[in-house]
Amino acid sequence: MTEPLWELTAERAIGLIGGGELSAEELTAAFADRAGNDPWAAFLAIDREGALERARRIDAATERPPLAGVPIGIKDVLSTRDLVTTAGSRILEGFRPVYTATCVERVEEAGAVVLGKTNMDEFAMGSSTENSGYGPSRNPWDPDRVPGGSSGGSAACVAARQVPWSLGSDTGGSIRQPAALCGIVGMKPTYGAVSRYGLIAFASSLDQVGPLARTVRDTALLLSHIVGHDPMDSTSLEWREPIVLPDAERVDGLRVGYVEELMGEGVQVGVRTSVRAALDRIEDLGGTLTPVSLPNTEHGLATYYLIAPAECSANLARFDAIRFGAAPPEAGGLVEQYERARGEGFGREVKRRIMLGTFALSSGYYDAYYGQAQRVRTLIVRDFARAFEQVDILASPTSPTVAFPLGERTDDPYSMYLADVCTIPVSLAGLPAISIPCGLSEGLPVGLQLTGPAFSENRLLDVAHALEAAIGFDERPEGLR
């Protein structure tokens, strides 16, 4: 084989292992070598020895598991028993969870090998990984630019071929936006599709785990192993229709609506051009294209930046330096211990969101802020319901811009929030959406977001697969040619 092993997609690797041409150990070693050399700071921790050991066990077993020992990167917000899990926060430095997240357990049972934990914005709050307590990740397409966030490490490691796929979490766009900025595929499933047990909570009515990969089929394969009810998460849903590997070549009769509000001002011209070209492919493939309005899109950011911080201010109350985390030395009483541990342990953005959320929930402001946001959320849900009476799926850019330079937005929180303007309404409505690379602008990848009604994952994957082939995106970062 002339092609290096780390070029393999998961699907091809599984085929080669199944055919006896490759061992899980060889494959894991090849990816571990690449992950070990990590100029993109995609990983916070790499468990090379543990991964090789598990790969050897899979090679020795009489029955080969479906994922055959293919390595995977896990966002550091997902708990992994005995393997340090920080959620990108200094307050959890050195924390070793005492149990493993259900979704990680499921991919391991299916035969994926956890190679390491990926970098992220602290507690998944951010759009660039610059809020990581351990330094930012870098975009493999241009190391002076961000990989997006919050699952920036999970996107960068896939784009850099350090693993064929990874798990991330998406609250307002944290899988889709970094996937777009790194030129890979990322999917946020329907809210409730994947168990949140072991996912360190940010905003519980929005958080959802999902896959990132280089192809739509790998994305589908990974998703198929993590969906379904988990007794440990009462909001996780029974999954009646299994996720199947997409093989559609056409989309005949498919009605696609492009979101008017996300195709105008506020979206870079190069991004619009690239997305329009991809939309033309839909017609080539037999689908129809109509403009659709989601009139409350303009209220998405404001709604999200009340609801998510409000939920985070409650969820992050658990970081009290009593059950886990480092207690500040020589703190006086209990309240002083809380205030110091949290004041010193949380980074700027996390404190900002806790403050915003606590404010929005506090006496005298609750109705005007949090209550109002929940009502606007209803309007956004209704916008989508109305749109899906006219069309089968919605298309838009995933991100209004291509990857931006490191440091460009760190001094202006609101400019950072704008990075998620296309993804947030979908999250507020709890709908499934996938981002696929659709071209380059200024030499950097552009993502196309496809959104469907709840539980339409299989259809979305089929459409994404057909479009992926029609677009034929085979560009890659300069250094990886």
Binding site: V98, P231, Y305, R352, M355, R375
Partner: protein
């Protein structure tokens, strides 16, 4: 543009959230939160009295399970990551002051 948030409000909210902020942090937080709230306040002008709030996007019934015993985390494991342990439990600093 007038400040949306006063310094005292920041200090009050920080106390509620159990966050110690330094004096410079309070001022920066005041400016940043005011800036963010300016954008957010646009939704306050919407007339939504007849719109019900959405708290959860999936229509779920309350979920009850059978009340059957099952194993839980062993105590040593549950306490493993605690900074301080006493009498087989998490050690918590004094809350009520005692006067001898």
């Amino acid at each position: 543009m007038a400040a949306v948030i006063e310094r005292e409000t920041v200090e009050h909210v920080a106390r509620l959230a159990r966050l110690r902020l330094g004096p410079e942090e309070v001022e920066r937080m005041r400016q940043e939160l005011s800036g963010i709230l300016e954008h957010i306040e646009l939704i306050q002008s919407l007339e939504l009295d007849d719109v019900p709030p959405t708290t959860h996007v999936v229509a779920l019934q309350n979920v009850l399970r059978d009340d059957t015993p099952r194993p839980s985390l062993p105590r040593e494991l549950a306490l493993r990551e605690a900074p301080a342990v006493a009498h087989d439990g998490f050690e918590v600093r004094g809350w009520i002051e005692t006067h001898a």
